[in-house]
Each structure stands twice: as C-alpha cells, then as structure tokens.
Symmetry: C2
Subunit: 219 residues, 2 copies
C-alpha cells in the first residue's frame, strides 16, 4: 500500500516536501489557495487542488479527513495556518505536521493539537551556523544535547596515520564509525585503516570530545 499525504501550502518548504515525497514513492495531494502555485505542482503530484483550507466545507469536500497525514506549510498567513490545523484536528486527521513562523505560532499550534511542529528556517540556521564555525566539520547529526555524529575532513596533520596510531578512542573517548573516501564509504573501519588526506571521518561521541580531537590532533 502506498503512503498517502496531503500537503497544504506550496511555498518553498511545502513544495519541496511534495517533490521529495513523490520521489520517494508516496501519493500526494497538493493544495494551495493560488492557482499558479497549484499549476506548478499539478504535473508532479498525484492530485492537486486550488482551495482555501480555512473553509471547513472545502476541506470536507476534498476528502482530506480520510488521509492519515497532512502537512500544513502555510507561511506568512499565521491565522490561516492555525485555522487550517484546527479544522484538520477537529475532523480527526491523526497526524498533522505544521510549519511554525515563530514561538507564538508554535505555542498556539501545540494547544490546538498539532502533532509535529517544525521551524524550517530556524533549524537550517542552526545547522549552517555550526557548519560555519568549524571549517573541518562538514555536517553532523545531533544525537542528544551533548552527543553528535560529525563529518570531519582529515587534514595533513592526521593523514598517513592509522586509527590505531592516533588512538582516538583512548585519547578522546570518541570513535570513527565510517570513512568517506572518494565515492565510497568504509563502514566501521578497523583500527589498522590508514587515514588519507581528504578522507571524511564519521566520528561519534560527545561534541566537546570531538572538538577537542579536531583542535588537538588536527589543529
């Protein structure tokens, strides 16, 4: 059975969700109040409709309440976002994911039962800032407040040494769980694996420990 979603609001964020869900093989109904936006997505979405979703009758007539998951990606018009979410939850849609514009908006959405609240610009800002601060840290996955998996670009200070030589686990309490080299990935490299210049090390551990490794071993 194909997964089915409704995406309301086809701005950059909502539009990108439609594209990617379709690419991943889902069925998607794409909705926007403006026909030009809808025209753009009618070609790729499974279904598309021009509709103002602050009107309960409109939502009912589109059969949206039969979907398991609706994403509300209405932006600037916070009132429309809140009202749409309220109607969806009142009609019993089990999963409603909503884009929030600010803290006030997020708070109201939480109160009226939004199941997942997302701050796309804020989250990307945090990601970018982290990338900007550490030029050797290319990307990361936050695991907890303290722990992350980080992509670290090996420089000439550590190139030529094996993982054993650097004794990373003993010295820093962190672990190399993978190495990106050219177009391939070495999964869970052994301690004998030699690090090459330009390797991207996938390191798991406490952020302070990883940063200590980057500063002391690579700085």
């Amino acid at each position: 059975m194909k997964k089915e979603f409704v995406v309301i609001g086809l701005g950059r964020f909502g539009g990108s969700i439609v594209h990617e869900l379709i690419r991943l093989g889902a069925d998607v109904m794409a909705i926007d109040a403006h026909s030009e936006r809808v025209d753009e997505y009618a070609k790729i979405a499974t279904q598309a409709a021009v509709a103002d979703t602050t009107d309960e009758e409109v939502i009912k007539s589109l059969g949206i309440r039969n979907f398991e998951h609706v994403i509300v990606a209405i932006g600037e018009n916070i009132q429309a976002s809140i009202l749409t979410t309220l109607i969806l939850k009142e009609l019993g849609v089990p999963n409603v994911t909503v884009k929030a514009q600010n803290d006030y908006h997020a708070k109201v959405l939480g109160r009226i039962g939004a199941d997942q609240i997302i701050h796309p610009e804020r989250d990307m800002g945090i990601r970018i800032a982290n990338n900007l601060m550490s030029s050797n840290v290319l990307d990361y996955l936050e695991l907890s407040d303290e722990h992350s998996i980080m992509e670290i670009k090996a420089n000439d200070r550590i190139a030529g040494y094996s993982i054993k030589d650097l004794d990373i686990r003993a010295n820093y309490g962190i672990n190399i769980v993978g190495i990106k080299r050219d177009d391939s990935i070495i999964i869970s490299p052994t301690a004998d694996e030699k690090i090459l210049l330009g390797d991207i090390l996938l390191v798991i551990g406490a952020v302070v420990d990883i940063n200590r490794f980057v500063k002391k071993a690579m700085g």
Copy 2:
C-alpha cells in the same frame, strides 16, 4: 582569536544564524534594513546596524569588507540579495554565503561569485519528507547518494535481541554504531549488547540495506 561574521537580513533564517553563532562563541555584526528587526538582535549580537546593503557606500562605511565571512539572508527581495552579494564580492570579501529563493536566484548568485548557496526551506522539506516516509527512521545524516547514518527506533520485533542475535552486519551489510537509550549514548556497542524497546539505533550503511532491515527485521 574569535571568529567573526556579518549576517545581513534578520528574518527567521538569518536571525537563527545570529543566535547560534553567538551561542557558539563567535562575534557577529547583525544588519537589516528595518530598525525593528535590528532592535531585536541588538541585545544579543556583538554589533548591530540598520542599513540598506544594496548601497556600496553603506557597506564600506560599516567596514564589512574587513570580515572573512558574510552571510546574506535576504529573502523575498531577490534583487537586493543579488546586488548585496555582488558588492561584497567586488569589495573582496573572501567567503560569502547566500540564501537562495529559487533556481534562477541560485544561478545568478553562482555567476557573480557567491561562495556557498543555500536553500533552507528546500533542504528542510527534503529532510522532513524523508522523516515522514519512514516512521521508524527519526533522523538521518546523508553520507553519499547511497549511504546514510539513520536513527531507527527499535520496536517490539527486535527488542530483547542482542546485535549478535540479529546478525545485522551479515544479513544486511549495515552496522549499529551507537544506541541512544534514555539520556545516554552507547558508542560502538559490542555484539552482545541487547536492544531494548524504545532504543534509538544509529545505523550506518546503504539506504536500501537499512530500509531492508527496517522492513524485514522490524516490519
């Protein structure tokens, strides 16, 4: 020496970058054409200025060309974003990171020398769509077109078994590199580690293999 940045445009994205850079210990000059926006960030930023950055004299007088890195987070006004970027590159700022609104915008930014072009809403849309498609996959770090590290929530199908019992590496060619349990993280668990209900497994491997594991072992 502290890292120094200029952030131009204090919308959600730019504002979030200012917050996070400051939190990470950088010096930040925050600039926007609207004084209310600047007032909001004057308290937290190292410096703040109300300025229209499409005016070359204004950029010169603020000393922006002495910074190593400038982030242009002007949104809707694409022309202002392009003109600002052009002036910054002409004045010799070595690193200019710019938010793009669409493909046309990104193309022009590339031509005029922007060093890094970012589509925050689009990238977050892609992340969210991936999260939505696989309810057991909570988050992920894309390593290549084929490989990722994924956070997978252990369900009752695999809880109670050790990593050895499931023989994940042999059966799926993937590896568990960490386990999030309550507030702690087990880094590189041994094969004897028993998986508990609600554990979040950090799995590295080809996405098709990880999905096969999620479907076959957990489905």
